[in-house]
Structure formats: C-alpha cells, structure tokens
Amino acid sequence: MKFIFDKDTWQEIYGSIRKNKLRTGITIIGVMWGIFLLVVLLGAARGMENNFDKMFGDFATNSVFVWGQTTSKPFKGFQEGKRMRLKITDVDYIKSEVKGVEFVVPRNRTQSLVVNNFKSLTVGIFGDYPLLDKVQKKHLVYGRFINENDIKERKKVCVISNDTYKQLFDKNEYPIGKYVKINNINYLVVGHYKNKQMGGGGPQGGVHIPFTTFQQVYNQGENIGWLMVTAKPDVSIAQVEADTKLLLNNLHKVHPKDGRAFGSFNLGDKIKKVTGFLTGMQFLTWFVGIATLIAGVFAIGNILLITVKERTKEIGIRRALGAKPGEIRRQIVLESVFLSTIAGALGIIFGGILLMLIDTLWGHGEDASLVNPTVNIPVILIAFVTLIVLGTLIGLIPAQMAVSVKPIEALRDE
C-alpha cells in the first residue's frame, strides 16, 4: 500500500493523464454525470417526500369521510332510490359501536355571500365543532378556533381562512373583533388561520361557524352534511370504513349489502398510494443513478483500454527497463480509481450545488414544490465507495491487458 502515498506513483499517473487531457476530461464528465444525476434525483425525491409530509403533516391521515347518497336496493318496504341523510345521533353510535375509532367529526356546509363593508365574496360556510382542529390542524394567525362555549350558546362567531381574509379585509388589517355579514346576519370574527395543507381532506378554506349556530340559521335540524371518522394510529382504516358503513346501513334501515346508500372517501388509502408512489420513485432514482454510474465506470474502463492499447509500446519499454507486471497493473488500476474518485467527487459537489440552487428557487414559501431537497451523507458515501470499488474492478481489465502482451511484442508495436 506504500505506493499509494508515493509521490512518484502520482507523478506517473499525472503524466499519463496529461498526455490525454481531452479524452480524460470527457471520461470524467461521463462518470460525474452519473453521480450528479444520482445526487440530484435523490435530493429531488427527498424534497418531494418532504413536501408531501408537509402537506399531510397537519392532517389526520388515518381517516375516512362518509356522506349520505341514495339507496340502490329496496329494503323493509322502502323502494330503492331513497335519499339518505346522516343524523347527528349517528355520531355517538359510531363512536360507541365501531372498534378503533378515535374521533367522529360531523360537518355541515353551504355556500353563501360574505360581506364586509364594501368587500364581499361567495364562499363555503362550514358548521364545525372544536374537534375539527384535532383532525385538520388550523394554524391560527390571530384569535382562536370555535370553542365549546360557542357551541353551547350558538354564538354568532366565525373563524376565517387566509384566502377569505385576503378578499374581505385590507392588507395587514386586524380582523379579530370585526363583524362580517353572512346572509345578512352579523358574525363576530374570532379567528384567522392559515391553511397549509392541500386538498384531499374534503372542502377547506372559507368560513367556519359553530355547528349549532349552523343548525339553527340554516334550519338543518338533526341533519349532517358529512362525517369525518379517524381511526387510532394502529387500526386499519379500511376496516373502520366498512364497519361504519354497515352500522349506518343498520341505523338507517338500509339493506346490509347496499354499498351505495352511503358514500365514503378513504384518505388513508389515497395517502398510502402516494407514499407507495414515492417509494417507487426512490427505487427508480436509485436504479437510474446506479445504472448511470455503472455506465460511467464502463466508460472509464473503455478509455483505459484504448489508452493501454495506445501505450503498448511505452509499456513494453518500461518492462524492458525492469518494470514488474505488478507495477504496471497497479499503475493502471490506480489510474482508474483516481479518475473515478475525481469524477465522483466533482459529481457530488455539482449535485450538491444544484440542490442548493433548487432549494433557493423552489424550496421556500407557501407553495414550495420541493421542500428541503437533501441527500443523506451515508447514502452519498455508499454511492462513492461503490463507485471506487467499481472503478477498481473495471481497471483490472485494461491492467490485465497491459501485462498480457509480451514485452518483446510490445516493443515491436508501432
């Protein structure tokens, strides 16, 4: 191993590389490109994953939405096509009867004109319980979310989303304590929140008012628009979904096998698909990256083969002067390793720079598409070591070729 630290060894390598500057440069670019792609792809995949994490982070992902539709089977004297509505009483039944349920959140929604002085917009009005904050975290900028007291006293208060705020209020205006008109009824603004998550959790944004207030103002009585059921972390959401629907069929006198009486949307399922997609992408990244790396290393091997062929005579001279086959061989292997290492290091550096650039350009702000695109150091080290090992192995081929020619034949080569 002493020869690795020998200045002369490196001088020899420098000499032969200097002889073929252009070719060496192009080869290095080939390998560099491979590891560069690997770094950038891995970083981008990580950025996307972080982005999804951010989007779903505030959301109870192990949840299902249930709403009333129309029956598809006649049952107990009712004809098919009966319109189903969920009732507020269903909530307690689901909570007590279905195993593994964590929260059951009833919600109501209508569309209405909201007015503040001369500004107005038509937006979704939601009747909500304080519980909503538990399953769809509201990041409040000012004030508070709806509380139990609002529910109990059917207060005319509202919590507005950021989009609504922007349209109803002037920039930097403090909304708390102001009144907005919804259907000609004044509501006191008590909270202003920023929505961070994207769709997938049902309708969002708009104006939230207490559930009981909604019931009264819009004359809903026992009816609920839809239910959001979340399962405990280790419970299968698919099972909860099936159990809930069966229970609802039972409660509402619907044929047990009628799958259309109540509609549902399984968020957990969708998220699993997205995560699966991410895993697939990561696999693809690795595959593409490693394949490109291997291609690059083969390019090094190829170029060294040509170089060795061209240097046949020189190698012959060296052997006539007393170079042992082992010395020739290790020289060429070391050249291969050296080129791989340089190319790998450059690829990692450039990949890192590009990731930094991506982070500055698209990694920040509300709608960042790639959040914090990074690659783990161990991952990089593994890729780097792999590259060096491959470089060594591939270097053995031209090295063997260099010493397989007899010195006398090598000397005769022109």
Binding site: K7, G322, A323, K324, P325, V403, P407
Partner: protein, 235 residues
C-alpha cells in the same frame, strides 16, 4: 558474463509449421568485452539479442547470465534481472515521449526502488557523462537523433548493469552521429562495461573488438578485429 550453449529457438508459423531461427548457437562473452553480432536480416541476430536480453525465452540449450542459469523465468523475475543486469539501447531510441530526458534516464532507477532525490542526481550524472546535462529538461521531440540515442545510452547505464545490449543503435542515425554514438559506446567499454551490439553495418562492427557473424541461425565466423587485437582482453 554471457555463456550460451547449443541454443535453439523456433517460432510457430500457422498451426503446424515452425520457423527454426536459431540452430544451436554457442557463444561465450567475457566481462568487459565489446562484441558485435553481424548478419543480414533474418539471420537470427535480433532473436539472439532478445533471448540474451530476457525479452524472449529459448527453447533448447542453456544460457547463463552472470553465472546464473536462465530457465523458466516468470515475468516478474525476468523484470528484476533485466533491471539489475541489463541496459537496453534500441534502434528507434524508445524514449517515453512525454517525459523529459532526465525523467527518461531516471526511469530504470524508479523500478529499482531508488529514492527520488538519488534518482535525479544519478540520472543527471549520467546525462552529463553523455554530454547532455544542459538538455535535461527537454522532451525527446526537442532533441536530435544523436542526442536521443545518447539519452537512451545514459538510460541504459544508469542502473549500473553488467551488460549493455544495443540493437542497431546506429540504424536510424547519419554517419557523423553514428561515429559519436560508437565513440560513446567505446568509451563505456573502456570503463569496463560489457557491450553487446547488433548491427549490419561493417563500419560499426569494425569499431568493436570482436565480430560474431550469424547466417541462417548459426555462427559462421567469430573474429577479433584489428582494434580488438590491441585491447587487453585478447593480448
């Protein structure tokens, strides 16, 4: 120094035939001799030099280099022996084009495992000896043919070998430079070095002490030259 007995060498041609190049050579070269091998092309003189230079193996007979019997050498052993005992001078100089004159001369010392500083010093000393000290930093393509051959001679001498083997050392040179190269080889021989030259030029051969003539793989004559008769070996 070199003792060859009943040496045979043949090369395969195609699948069945063999070309019998050396057909029983007996040759004894003592230390300090200045010998030339003459012969037309195809006489086997290059093959003989390759075998003597351990670049090729003989089929039959025996070969002793510095009293050591040469047989069944692997590449590594051959490389060590070449480095230790032999210095080569080629017709086409065979300098490494991207190395300076000094680096070229120092190369055998590198394979001998000599330290960098010592290599530089020794190489410079030998370059000085062939009169090219001022050209140490020049690349081979900046030198004339005669200068290149003198660099090659310096390289052959630098590792302090027992024998210098020169294969048509003047083949690529004009008559003036031929003379200067032969003078250099003579000077080396005068210092006690065994020099073994292959040539087909009579004038070159006449400047050595002993001429061995090959024809069709056998020695047809082995004579001491006029010059040789005056030197100490043959008195």
């Amino acid at each position: 120094m070199i003792k060859i007995e009943k040496l045979h060498k043949s090369y395969p041609i195609g699948k069945k035939d063999f070309l019998h190049v050396l057909k029983g050579i007996d040759l004894h070269i003592k230390e300090g001799e200045f010998v030339s091998i003459m012969g037309s092309s195809g006489s086997g003189k290059s093959t003989l030099l390759n075998i003597v230079g351990l670049l090729d193996e003989h089929d039959e007979g025996s070969y002793y280099l510095n009293k050591q019997k040469i047989e069944r050498l692997d590449e590594k052993k051959a490389a060590i022996l070449r480095n230790k005992f032999l210095g080569f001078v080629f017709q086409s100089f065979n300098l490494i084009s991207y190395k300076t004159a000094l680096e070229n001369v120092a190369l055998p010392l590198y394979y001998k495992g000599v330290s960098r500083k010592e290599r530089q010093e020794t190489a410079l000393k030998y370059l000085d000896k062939v009169g090219l000290k001022d050209w140490a930093k020049h690349l081979p393509n900046e030198l004339s043919g005669g200068q290149k051959q003198r660099v090659a001679i310096a390289r052959a001498l630098v590792a302090n070998p027992k024998v210098v083997l020169a294969d048509e050392p003047t083949g690529a040179l004009d008559s003036t430079t031929t003379d200067s190269v032969m003078e250099l080889l003579t000077a080396i021989n005068d210092e006690g070095m065994t020099v073994f030259v292959i040539t087909h030029e009579q004038e070159v051969a006449d400047q050595t002490d002993r001429i061995v003539t090959l024809k069709d793989g056998i020695i047809i004559s082995d004579e001491i030259t006029e010059k040789g008769k005056k030197t100490r070996h043959y008195v």
